[in-house]
Symmetry: D3
Subunit: 338 residues, 6 copies
């Protein structure tokens, strides 16, 4: 059970509540993530616990583009999320001060430069003890985030995706693409491959190298077919065991979902997760020591019906609940008497 908040924390947290639909309609006002206040963390040190940020970059996409518009699309859809989660019982805005800290200032034409800027944006958040929840953007954006968060010690990883994204390079040697982030991160020592689990991998392949490399590093790759045979509960249990209690990161590529649930993404693969499975998966990660998370590859121009942005926003809210609980857990551990 949650411990009572200190007065200072209570006041601080109270200053960072979303606008509420019962007072002003959900479709009103500027669309920030979850209708949260917009904060520049540099000018408000100590104010927030969790930063929601956008990374509007899709310049590393090898297939259909559009994910650069993902942060805008997810922000818009996220204004439909509300204050607490009746399934898990978590009320994130009661236990953690959250804010929309804006977008990383990407260079849409330069993947390497953008990686530097992402890392430079996230590193101070980490230094300030703020947990980042990022919305992409294509999957390359996870690489510099991991560099910022895993600098001190390699992180574990829960990676939910249709694709392993552990290619070495594409197009004759291009090493920074949305198909390579986890290989780069392992090479840089910011991910501990033996604590990395990929869930939901599927689709036809051009070469086995991607998967073979991952396996050779000791990463655990759980294809969709294995999920179907063993069932999600067993798969998640294994993933939790592998990742363990040390700090870990959660990366959710929206194309892990079936195209019926997420048509608006650059590289859809048939036969993916349903909404209910995805909710189960995320909620089942409760209690892991997540130091950051992202939702990537929502591509609004390909999302005519809006269901993909809705998926991204709902998953972001569910993940936010996990992160908020982690904030509370760490706060209580540090200071057992309020």
């Amino acid at each position: 059970m949650r411990q009572p908040l200190s007065e200072a924390d209570a006041a601080r947290i109270a200053r960072h509540k979303p606008a509420v639909g019962m007072a002003s309609p959900r479709f009103s006002g500027v669309a920030s993530f979850m209708r949260l206040p917009l904060i520049d963390p540099a000018s408000a040190p100590g104010a927030i616990d969790i930063a929601l940020l956008g990374i509007p970059f899709d310049g590393a996409t090898t297939n259909r583009p559009g994910a650069r518009l993902g942060p805008r699309g997810v922000r818009e859809a996220s204004t439909g999320t509300r204050l607490f989660n009746p399934v898990t019982g978590i009320a994130p805005y009661e236990i953690a001060a959250c804010a929309d800290v804006g977008d990383v200032p990407v260079n849409p034409i330069d993947a390497a430069e953008t990686c530097r800027r992402i890392e430079a944006f996230v590193a101070p958040l980490r230094a300030a003890g703020i947990v980042p929840l990022s919305v992409g953007g294509d999957h390359l954006v996870t690489y510099p985030i991991l560099r910022a968060l895993g600098r001190d010690r390699p992180l574990g990883l829960i990676h939910i995706d249709a694709h392993s994204d552990t290619d070495d390079s594409q197009y004759d040697g291009t090493r920074l693409t949305h198909g390579t982030p986890f290989r780069r991160a392992v090479e840089d020592g910011v991910l501990d491959p033996r604590r990395c689990v990929q869930i939901g991998i599927r689709g036809s392949l051009d070469a086995a190298d991607e998967r073979d490399w991952a396996l050779a590093q000791g990463m655990r790759v759980i294809p969709m077919e294995e999920v179907l045979v063993r069932g999600l509960p067993e798969v998640v249990a294994e993933a939790r065991t592998l990742v363990g209690e040390a700090p870990a990161y959660l990366s959710f590529d929206i194309d892990a979902l079936d195209p019926a649930y997420a048509p608006g993404t650059g590289t859809p693969e048939w036969g993916g997760f349903s909404s209910r499975e995805a909710l189960f998966l995320v909620r089942a990660l409760r209690g892991l020591d997540l130091v950051g998370a992202d939702v990537v590859e929502v591509a609004p121009p390909l999302d005519i019906t809006g269901v993909t942005a809705l998926a991204g926003a709902t998953l972001a809210f569910e993940i936010l609940c996990l992160l908020a609980e982690g904030v509370a857990r760490r706060r209580e551990a540090a200071d057992p008497t309020p």
Copy 2:
């Protein structure tokens, strides 16, 4: 087994058949519900058993609008339904005279006045022994329908929805919104809360009041998570027991479906029912004493692919089968020898 029809009934029913696709294509002709004849029941007393009507009102919507175009959209999609249901074996147009009786003349800007008009439209149907199957419109429209049908004795309710719609008020005291119909109906005594069952409730919440009030009245609220744990058969069995054999109403909010199956609605919630689950649910209500039903919250402007209108039309057909069987059952009970 069905008893043979009296000659008069047979002739009457034969006059109210849908146009058949084998003769004229389904895409031809004015789009009435199910390609049924258009009838003004006032000018044809005794002619029909079941009235399909539209209620093109979304002026009580607190989120994205568009459900006022629902009756048009569902009519269009319903022209694809056919004459009998091979799963249940019900041939509704063989056992009940059905017609499209047009739309309630709503005032799109005045929710209270529209409620009065809906009640004034449905009350004479009930007085004439005609069972109404309404297509909304936002969910507020169910409130005046319940007033018209439950005037004499409070009704039971099967309510399939993502939201409880038992708020007290919104925006500083507005009491007629699409989030309040069932609270109003219980307050007015036209619903018996202990015979009300809500199935599929889910999504984040701003406040627990809505749910707490419903529970306090004795309503049975079955969240989606409970459905997933116990399974639909058990849930429906409980619902049937609670509603019992007394007259009841069936209200199907299209947002009970997952956004993959029904993107075109104002307040979609991730993690809802699939088409096959919804078909199971409705068919499992066979034999209840339904005195009316509705399908609400189909919003065609948000339904670019048309699957939501298709969902609404298919559900309306399945519900029509239940209502037709009820008509036949009551006819046979009243007059056991044809």
Copy 3:
């Protein structure tokens, strides 16, 4: 020629610049109007000259809804506008401090209450000498704005629209609809009908009352056919003469445009203005004493291609240039030596 700014004004204006696309991409960051800073004018007295605000209300719409999502849609599209206007030479952010002040907290179900809230939102802006540029919402929203701005002396009006919006009531006596705002405003004495000009009126009619009443009040109604015969330059010249040098308001209903240019609106009428004609029209109003303006009836759910939101955003930018110049003109008149 513009006079140099006082140091204080220069500093103040410099604090309110839009984010620039050369530095951060236009698709990045939270979408405020024109990428301007978000300001609460109450907490920053004296800070700004022009307030861009949203009024997300379409509860007075008698046709297809969706304009409640207009502010969000126009904000998104407006992030593509830039810093200066090479045709008129106006650089609005150099001569006036502009900000996005958020949305009026509407009640989507209550037109009368929403009118009160709009008036209560705009009146303090006017009291603080801030010029409002509003984005609707349906056309009813103009009525309370006019009440707030015309309280002291009736205003002139340039009204660009397909419809006169001078109905008395609709649906048996409903007097606050998007078809009645200018009648209500004249009745309230906040518009001077002899200084009101409607341009572009067209389409079939149910009754002549709307137009006859307007003419009887002395309003000038210029149907599209007259525009075509006389040409826009002559029509605008007449409009300028009629409105004169006294304070006036500009209301641009997006359905003044042809559906090819603005399909995303509730009541499109064939045969409207092109983009180039609309640009000409707005630019030709330069020098009028505009005390406020609005762009209304952009309905994003009906705007699949996005061109209607683009139209709204471009028109808002052009109008902003006029308003900014007016601010500068008034500032210089008040204080001829900086």
Copy 4:
């Protein structure tokens, strides 16, 4: 000036009025053409003057299909038209009894059989003195209509289109396609080629045969480029002279419009008419002795924004005004004293 109606005509006409938007919203009720009553002319002899009918056939389309859904789409959009035309001053429902008579029962797979059915549907209308205004369907449908209407004496023709539709055959001898109706009609002697005018022809060609044949018959083909050089007024004047005072037919292929105004058609051609030009064109035909008319090739599945159906509905209303005036003119000529 119109003569007063006889009492009988006045009563008859009064029984055939559209539902009015001021009373019930335009989006309510079953979508008949113009919200007119649905009448079976066979069962109501003498009741109506003008029949609006749908011909949902696109089985003769050589390009993208979808026009079979045209009648539904145009009916839906036509519910936005109103009672009188302020430009021409015509109030069609005051001078002619109009009704929606439903759709021709086409066979979507058999063009020859469908032609027979269309002719069999229209011939009795003509025999009853009812003027048909048809909504297609692809352009082949005009051929059997012309057979029904021109049986006694060849008709003149105003044909507004991007394509001449005077091919001999396609695909190795198929003679009934949407590219051949006017050749077939001339061959059958139901069109008088010297009184046929085609306006707006444009686009690249595979062969000159189509055009050469038309010219050889004495048809007047006015390509778009000639329209641009000479101007619409002069072109229409020539067309009126050629067609003369004898009975004529008006056929408007929606692809005469530019794709910006009518994207939803099977064979769009760049560089077509604008909405205002099309309105001018149709209105300029006032006074011709039109014995029937059609609007064809609206293809709703290709009309995502709905502007093409809006174009079709607006043109149908404008043409209806011409036809209604013709009815009144003929009535007055036959019986000069009411």
Copy 5:
């Protein structure tokens, strides 16, 4: 385990590889099926084992059209498929020479003539020992394919569909429609009805004749409800037993899928298969002696989100894997020592 290829086969197969995404992006180049080379089999005898062909005909559609654009849509989506199937382990382009052989030159207006052309296109493929994988087009196209392939001995059939397509005729005697192909094929003796299995049949019906006839011939019809009760594994096992080891054909109508997974088809039926079930179904057919297959009824104009074309392309790839393995099996059986 596969036997090694002869040198000639290896060289031949190596000449028919798809373009690979790692070298040139998937969105580049002309869209052939699977990015395969375009080959005219008549001019390259002996070159290929499997022909992918399009049949762009929807002239036998009794509902919404658009399937004539199916081959283009599926080709486009198929450029996203890759080289091998990690689930089944099949690398089709390593064991069979595949090519895109273009489209059958249909006559869109003449179903009978088109049937002749399809048969004339497929017969030489069969004569040359090439296995056809066809992409429709409406379901009628299967009939002439079966005539070409089943001429010598009646084939077995796995037919995955929402509809039995065993009508006798429609619209007063039209016998070649997309609702009749399997009845025609049985009548012609090219299908052995006792080896025909239909899986997934569902939806309301106008008449029982269609199903009764199929059952009377000895066809096995497995409605969706039976699938749900017994489970797919058991159903597929029964189907395999019935079809046996003799030559069989696989026909996959995309409307077998639920509209959430395949909205873009002419006659969608609620309650269909999910993507994962469809993948299971196709993969479970491994080892049957398939002499041809098709995927039909993908209608791109109705497929705004593109998920239906993606479904069609993914299924085509999975089926191609089965066919390629069959080619290899037959090659090895014919010549056991390479």
Copy 6:
């Protein structure tokens, strides 16, 4: 008047005809540009005069992406173009051998590398005397094309666009963006700035640098406002004079068109050219010595209605006519007696 072709040329040209719609439907077959044969010019030296190629690269886009899918989209739409141009009388496939030579193998993530590949693709075409007509892709692709074509002597330029694309750099020094190609080309000496004309420039600006630099080089920039004042004929006459008789290039950015005509592009600007103006503009360039041309910035994911791809295809056909005539002119000049 055209001279007769040599026998060799006639035979060669006859081998490169598009598939014709009268024989096989336009929607059938693999979609190559204009339904032309697919040719690898390296393996068929001397075969063709004009190469249509795709450049599916949008990695230099600073705004909304999607133009990488432009070649696919324009190919698809181009299958609707036919054999000759009745306005100009040009039958391109009678006077020049044309082919679709496929796409440049771009690297979507590396603008510099892609520029090298484009230049390496086009240079051999030029060396072989083949005129390239390229379809982009974003506007950066024009830069390497100009490098390949202007290597020997600087070219003149007709540049039709909303934007000058003469920025120096964006985002802190990125010099290869779709806003810089013409500055780079002038710097490299492959464009002669005094023979460069930009037509249709418009929209708000962030800085005057782009335009000032162009003017300082001696480029002629004709903003849309100047076009409106002077008229297109006068503007084109000036442009022809400036470009003169020396070799020149034509670059058509689809955003030169108004968003009503071309919504599907990354940076739409209100107030652009209509279809008829664009046709006039292109046709008025007849007789210039064009050594290459392109159509760029068609972005299919943003082109829901397809009108932008149609615009691109129609313009490509009109430009092809100009290029074909140039081929014939040069052939005749080189060898005056056939």
